[in-house]
Symmetry: C2
Subunit: 298 residues, 2 copies
């Protein structure tokens, strides 16, 4: 079972200027991810712009994805929404559409209490009937999961994993041990925040939920395998090669930078959904240089 272990790659969801999915471009992204040997695909994650897409567009995205990845790489689908009713409906859509697992972030408008988030997750996990990963992403959802709530949710049927942000205090090992101690055996504790991935995996994190692997799956798989095989030198070298990309992710937000990477790699001239702005022209050179260095050294 590699649904929430190893490398999970998060593709962009390519849409045209009218907001319509470009299915063949999505399928091209997915083919590259499958071909590179990623362990799973995180469709319609934050990188996949799920928060900005209609339920209908999300269905279409899943349909296009299943066409190319079914039977090849497990597919995890983001089903977050501002209301429980909509998230339940998206979870049912995802199961019926062929998803293997679900990813759920507690999107919020009115700030949510722990009890509200618990009941929301319980309801959506029940409606989906698939292994579900808690998406702990305080930057976008403005909700932070305490360990008590993660422990409680880990006992709910279907809830199988958590996708954590990088620990603020940098203590990966301590956090992984703490979370493992309060969750059932088999519950997966993984990490997002690409610049901390090497450290998270070395500390025993089960999964790297990776933005960059959506467009650069080869080097991301190589880094993951290096850590998994205990090849510290190669892991260090690859992480250093990614360094300028990590710097750009931290400076501009990985979501914005990914659109520039797609453009520079010749994979499509896409724009983020407004109000999100693309990088300024003057910053594109830095992205190009970061990619040159990565592709030279990786």
């Amino acid at each position: 079972m590699t649904l929430f272990t190893g490398l999970s790659a998060f593709p962009l969801t390519p849409v045209d200027d009218a907001g319509r999915l470009v299915p063949d471009l999505l399928q091209r992204f997915l083919d590259r991810i499958v071909g590179a040997g990623a362990d799973s695909i995180g469709l319609l994650g934050s990188t996949g712009a799920y928060a900005y897409l209609s339920p209908e567009a999300r269905k279409r995205t899943l349909r296009a994805a299943v066409e190319v990845v079914a039977g090849r790489t497990p597919l995890v689908v983001g089903v977050g929404a501002l209301t429980t009713a909509e998230a339940e409906s998206l979870a049912r859509d995802a199961r019926e559409g062929g998803a293997d697992g679900l990813l759920l972030a507690p999107m919020s408008y009115q700030p949510l209490s722990d009890e509200e988030v618990f009941r929301h997750f319980e309801a959506v996990a029940g409606a989906g009937g698939l292994p579900l990963c808690i998406y702990n992403n305080p930057t976008t959802t403005k909700f932070t999961f305490g360990t008590d709530l993660i422990a409680r949710l880990s006992e709910v049927p279907n809830i199988a994993a958590v996708k954590m942000p990088l620990p603020a205090d940098g203590d990966f090992t301590g956090e992984v041990l703490r979370l493992r101690g309060i969750t059932p055996k088999g519950f997966a504790v993984g990490y997002s925040g690409d610049w901390g991935a090497k450290e998270a995996l070395f500390a025993g994190g089960a999964c790297w939920f990776s933005v960059v692997a959506g467009l650069l799956p080869g080097p991301a798989v190589a880094l993951t395998r290096a850590v998994q095989s205990g090849d510290i030198d190669t892991a260090e070298r690859l992480d250093r090669a990614f360094g300028p990309v990590w710097s750009l992710f931290r400076e501009f937000g990985s979501f914005r930078v990914m659109f520039s990477i797609a453009e520079i790699l010749g994979l499509g001239s896409l724009r983020p959904p407004r109000p999100i702005l693309p990088l300024a022209e003057r910053d594109l050179d830095r992205v190009a240089q970061a990619l040159d260095r990565l592709l030279d050294e990786a």
Copy 2:
């Protein structure tokens, strides 16, 4: 012009268990607001659950509202959305549906830059073609407007007002003077946060954007008029009478408490949209006592 001055009352948007608008109940709320003499209505504000409703439900809500308030009380309509395209479309819907003004909060998923918020507001103000109020609500949107951005936005055609949260340092007078100093003559600086309304109005705030006035418009109008006429004693007495309601708003969030107020006043047994939970049974008594005191003393 009373669109963004005096008392703006924000009704709940009543929906049934299946999420469908209950138009006659909305119209009852609106009749009470109009009858009490509020200066404007803030339809589909945060209290009106705009963030949780589909564009179609928002259109129906406006249609039902216009039926009872057109020509009686100016109608300001919330048009916030996570994408600029959807907010533009909602702004056009609102104008075509008979709104007199717009209210726009910078809803976010990916955190937004000042430039992104500026362009979003410029686009929506252009699409709507109606006087627009900047909805500065960091608690729900997680975006905080700096004074520079407010100054810049106040020069954009159609942008006519700002709805501010209560100043963290309690310096209402200083903030009102500062904002007036950097915005054009006629640009309205109003406040939300009901427990600070008396102070905000005394400090020269142009408008009280009021949650409580959605269900208790009588006492809210009385408080507004007392301040406007300089009757400090009456204003102090009414603000004290509201005191227990303010405490509940601060403890549970005004959105959750409003559903209990509707129930206790016999105006309908409504529930907030999941994941938001209603108050626990044990807290309903406190709401009833707060209302008793208010209606006794106001």
